[in-house]
Symmetry: C2
Subunit: 477 residues, 2 copies
């Protein structure tokens, strides 16, 4: 809805003469036009834009390093912008400053097929990388839905539907080139598959949302394209039986590539939106990767397990067109949900819990949502214990936003009590800051704070994100 207003009282003043050197260096690659600033002051979250004071289109690491030195010297915020597809207000310039748009840093630097690695500039998107890899027999699996940039995906520790098999950006970023707050350029690691040589700088920056350094280059792991792929769907009468199936599938070490849950409303919405005729009950959607024999064996084992758990209508989609149609339907579930309530905007939750608690977490949440004044759907990366509630809100009714925020706070409280997290893959941004004390505890949060202070002493890098100010709050710890 992009209508939720964020406080801008912390907006910093720009010192006299600050813009001139930027104009001189970047010329037409620097803009203070309102439309440009507005575009860069928002993301896919429900927040209304908070524009920066100016936008620079960087084309090199040295551009970013120069900007960092300049901003650091003058205490002006610097915000990295990739594809703009973040979901939690990561990109809003709540303290003003300069946004550096990295989308023109979009070169594939190198592919090492024998080592299964790719090095790309931060602005390269995942679709661009996979297009580049088309003739190599390799692919990059992480798929958060949006065609995000690799820099942004690293910065938010993104994942998506196939993390159950391939992991998240945490497991797949091997090394980063990073510009520090004071404009130095470092490499966080090398291309060795493993190393014990000192502190893990790579993982410090993965998930740091532009607050510790600006990622300018990313080296990721690649995977051989599976010899064969198949999909299957299976309906259940209850969520519990669907989750029980998945637990047993994982216990049996069946390497499913994806396993996605959709609740009845999500299935209905998808049938309507994607012109399908899926049975309208809780559903699991599987994908299998491997040799022809291996995926047959996997699918048969999964069919047998789902059958034992009361699964119905197990259907194996071997034909690429059937498979694509099913997975496109899953990918479109967000838009399908929106169509349930014309004119609405969705607010999306993102908790992740140990899988043993997943059924209980979803069930208790659904019971609460059934009392809400707005419709909702639930989809889940069930193999990881991560699920999203799409709450379909009237953008012109602030009471619905408040109600959705209450429900989300209860959901986060529930997830944390189950030893889970407030965000499995979307990140903290502005929207999850209030839960950081409850999730991590004050002492762990203080360590994060001291890390931020050590890496960015002048607090210029995407300030006002991730770590709340020192006064306790949120769920009350």
């Amino acid at each position: 809805m992009n209508t939720v207003m964020v406080s801008q009282e912390a907006r910093r003043s720009i010192p006299d003469g600050f813009f001139e050197p930027i104009e001189q260096r970047f010329g037409s690659r620097f803009s203070r036009a309102e439309a440009v600033r507005e575009h860069h002051g928002q993301d896919e979250s429900p927040y209304a834009p908070v524009p920066p004071d100016g936008v620079v289109y960087a084309t090199s690491t040295e551009d970013v390093a120069w900007l960092a030195r300049h901003c650091n010297q003058h205490g002006v915020p610097l915000i990295a912008f990739g594809a703009g597809s973040s979901l939690e207000g990561h990109l809003l310039a709540v303290q003003g400053g300069i946004t550096v748009d990295l989308s023109q840093m979009n070169k594939v630097v190198s592919i090492h097929a024998e080592d299964l690695t790719a090095t790309v500039q931060a602005g390269v998107t995942r679709e661009q990388l996979n297009e580049h890899l088309r003739h190599t027999g390799l692919f990059f699996p992480i798929d958060p839905g949006a065609n995000a940039s690799l820099g942004g995906m690293s910065a938010t520790r993104a994942s998506g539907t196939n993390a159950v098999r391939y992991g998240t950006m945490r497991e797949n970023v091997m090394s980063l080139e990073v510009v520090t707050a004071d404009g130095r350029v470092i490499k966080t690691a090398n291309r060795a598959r493993k190393s014990s040589a000192g502190y893990d700088l790579t993982h410090i920056f993965v998930g740091s949302e532009g607050t510790l350094g600006i990622i300018t280059e990313v080296t990721v792991r690649l995977y051989p394209r599976p010899e064969a792929t198949s999909a299957a769907i299976c309906n259940f009468s209850t969520l519990e039986s669907a989750v029980g199936s998945v637990i047993e599938i994982i216990q049996m070490a069946i390497p499913v590539a994806r396993v996605e849950f959709m609740d009845t409303t999500a299935v209905k919405a998808t049938n309507a939106h994607s012109n399908l005729t899926l049975r309208e009950s809780p559903l699991l959607l599987f994908e299998f990767h491997g040799s022809a024999a291996a995926i047959k064996e996997q699918a048969e084992a999964v069919q047998s397990i789902t059958h034992e758990h009361g699964g119905m209508d197990f259907e194996w989609a071997e034909r690429p067109e059937d498979r694509s149609r099913l997975w496109k339907a899953r990918h479109d579930a967000y838009f399908a949900g929106l169509h349930l309530r014309p004119g609405c905007r969705a607010s999306t939750t993102d908790v992740c819990v140990p899988i043993s608690c997943l059924a209980r977490c979803v069930t208790e949440t659904a019971a609460e949502l059934d009392q809400a004044s707005f419709p909702y759907t639930i989809v889940g990366h069930v193999g990881d214990g991560n699920f999203h509630v799409l709450m379909l809100l009237d953008p012109n009714n602030p009471a619905e936003w408040e109600e959705s925020e209450r429900i989300n706070a209860n959901l986060v409280r529930r997830a944390i009590s189950m030893d889970g997290t407030c965000t499995g893959e979307h990140g903290v941004g502005l929207h999850k800051m209030e839960f950081m004390v409850a999730e991590h505890g004050q002492d762990a949060l203080d360590l994060m704070r001291s890390l931020k202070q050590a890496f960015d002493p002048n607090n210029i890098l995407n300030p006002g994100k991730i770590i709340p100010a020192r006064v306790s709050g949120g769920l009350g710890g």
Copy 2:
């Protein structure tokens, strides 16, 4: 040989009255006996012991937290000690202080079979954990050879023979309980399989070698025990053809559980030591995990690939006793090597390079070693690009130690020039500090230094390790 002397000039003085509160709190669990101190001032490295001033046997997290507060207040070093199996001088009390022995913190806290997680106290060893898991159908795969503690394995980012399939401690530690330098107790994460909620504290402590905090509890991932396991060996006439096979195996996405390389001398030593009759040429040793059908398919595909690369005598060991004998031989390769030169001690290298560079790195290193005045063997976790040279040295001949150090420095320089690392799995300790500038660059090392300063401002946690003093050195960057 435990004969290489380390400088102790940085040994700190202990303030008056420092020991009394420790004696009062810990009674017989505190010792200043020479034998106890000597035992705790060494590891499996070639360094002569540098004993701490006293040793405390902790039995609880609160014991460790109390000690941290006490040591921090008085500026006295505090060194965590697990099983004492580190290889690079990690445990030497080069600045004196207190060593806290965590081996009595050996409780398995909880097993969550449905979630595939185990939480253990830091002193639990990997064999103890696997024994505990015996009836669950699950196992913990990481196997560095020694029966190390899980706390120590986390602190050194350990791995071993099956990292090619299961990853290292980096991929398998989900969460840690850590005592900070000032005695606070934090949890670094929860049991959700993925999270984007803020900075990755877990990975900051994994591999930090007791210099940023003391790990008191570890939550790791477990895996379903494979339905079936088989092993195979294959000889090659050259290293290049062996490595070429492995590259193709990985490109074909064949999920080998282990693939180990042994050079001709290592095979000879193993034949003699383990009473085997392996063909004495470069050899690959494989292990396959999966369903009966899957491992058959894997082994056949591997056989076909090795055949194309000139592999000879591909032999499949299905019987558990044959399999065990082969893998025991591989595990005993270290001792077999020692028997090549009675009375010797080994110094072990640990570089790791992108697999595309592995054959060249090993070949160039072997050419240099062939000119050395001592014998050597080479074994490698070839799927990861990690290999070890065992240099068999006369402990009474300092010239051999110096020669081995020169060869290792050249090897590290070679690995770094190939975008590799000085240590794949053993850690930095004292022995690899001189290479940190060359590997990371001064700016990245400065970031590590600022992290250390932020987390341990009084420099009490295992001081004098990982990060060299600010003067540049080593390979000269």
